[in-house]
């Protein structure tokens, strides 16, 4: 991408965030972005718009009531759709389950406990410090730390490009032969 195209892209992104684009401009932006989407200008402009914003003016009560009613309709509809796998066509009869289908589910159900126990055994005995509880615990990071993580991606990716091959590490360049693990020969921890 040339510098000039970059300038046009930035101008279009700024215009999109501040005053909106015409159809022609939107098509040009789509072409320049090539499927990628940059909403950093939207976020920036929204942040600036919030500088002096406190939402001090209360929403009129009739509007609040209208939105509450719209919310009930929206979430009822969504709940109906999530409970019904057929979506709106709820009266369509479900296909009858055949014996092979039933057998497949039964085999899967029988295998589930053993798969779970095997997973737990491996994770706890491998000594990697990996615990199921840790896996399931939701991890929330602050906005700032997530941003700094995001910024460090390219550096981490660059580091991971270092490939260890025979002769590529000076410390082990003179080591020859195969590596064989032996419990009897192991020393120390």
């Amino acid at each position: 991408m040339t510098e000039n195209t970059d300038q046009v892209l930035i101008d279009l992104l700024i215009k999109q965030a501040t005053e909106g684009l015409t159809d022609v401009e939107q098509a040009e932006l789509d072409r320049l972005e090539r499927g990628r989407h940059d909403n950093t200008f939207d976020v920036t402009v929204s942040a600036i718009s919030l500088i002096d914003e406190r939402g001090e003016e209360p929403m009129p009560s009739h509007l609040r009531a209208n939105i509450r009613a719209a919310a009930e309709r929206f979430f009822d509809e969504r709940k109906r759709q999530s409970f019904s796998p057929l979506g709106r066509d709820e009266h369509k009869p479900l296909p009858r389950s055949s014996f092979p289908n039933w057998l497949g589910w039964a085999v899967a159900a029988c295998g589930l406990p053993s798969s779970c126990s095997e997973f737990l055994f491996h994770t706890s005995s491998a000594g990697t410090g990996f615990a199921l509880a840790e896996l399931l615990r939701p991890r929330r990071k602050s906005l700032r730390s997530q941003r700094s993580d995001k910024n460090s991606w390219p550096r981490r990716l660059t580091c991971s490009k270092r490939v260890v091959t025979k002769g590529s590490m000076t410390e082990i360049s003179d080591v020859t032969g195969d590596i064989v693990w032996s419990d009897s020969e192991q020393k120390g921890m």
Binding site: I14, G20, D38, D42, T44, S46, I48, L50, D52
Partner: protein, 166 residues
């Protein structure tokens, strides 16, 4: 709605001024928020900014659709007191605080252009007409101000990363 009702209503009133338009658009904004809730990315923005972003997009669509724009209240007020309350105990959004800090480094004309453009909802051409600045100057002020705030928010690297991968 309890948390962001006042915010969305306030943004709509400020940008549209017409109560009927604002009421219509606020309902649409909330439906958009419910539909797009899954897209919220905590790493990119706070909840408040996300809600404000959806509200602004919808309102801009409405403005474009109706081809109506509000007029600036008083250009002198804008120039004299741009976002003074942000220096107080503004708790509305972490990005807004960062943006306010970035604004301090801008030149008064840049702050004025950003206020008229982002808060008052004027187009660049309307700002040029209202302030007497050439259109190119208005665009330059807007571009520099937004780029600087974007850098300050830590969002500025995205485009550069994309450039590198393109």
């Amino acid at each position: 709605m309890k948390a962001y009702g006042g915010l969305v209503w306030s943004i709509a009133r400020k940008m549209l001024r017409n109560n009927d338009d604002a009421e219509d658009v606020v309902q649409e904004v909330f439906i958009d928020i419910w539909k797009n809730a899954e897209r919220f990315d905590e790493a990119q923005s706070s909840e408040t900014t996300f809600v404000a972003m959806i509200a602004r997009r919808r309102i801009i669509d409405r403005i474009r659709y109706t081809s109506r724009r509000i007029s600036a209240d008083s250009l002198e007020d804008v120039t004299a007191e741009p976002w003074t309350r942000a220096d107080e105990s503004m708790q509305i959004s972490v990005e807004a605080k960062e943006a306010a800090a970035a604004m301090k480094d801008l030149r008064p004309e840049q702050r004025q252009v950003l206020h008229l453009s982002i808060v008052q909802g004027l187009s660049h051409q309307e700002i040029a007409d209202a302030t007497g600045m050439p259109l190119g100057t208005v665009k330059t002020h807007a571009r520099r101000g937004i780029l600087q705030a974007r850098e300050f928010l830590g969002l500025g690297k995205n485009l550069d990363e994309k450039e590198a991968t393109a």
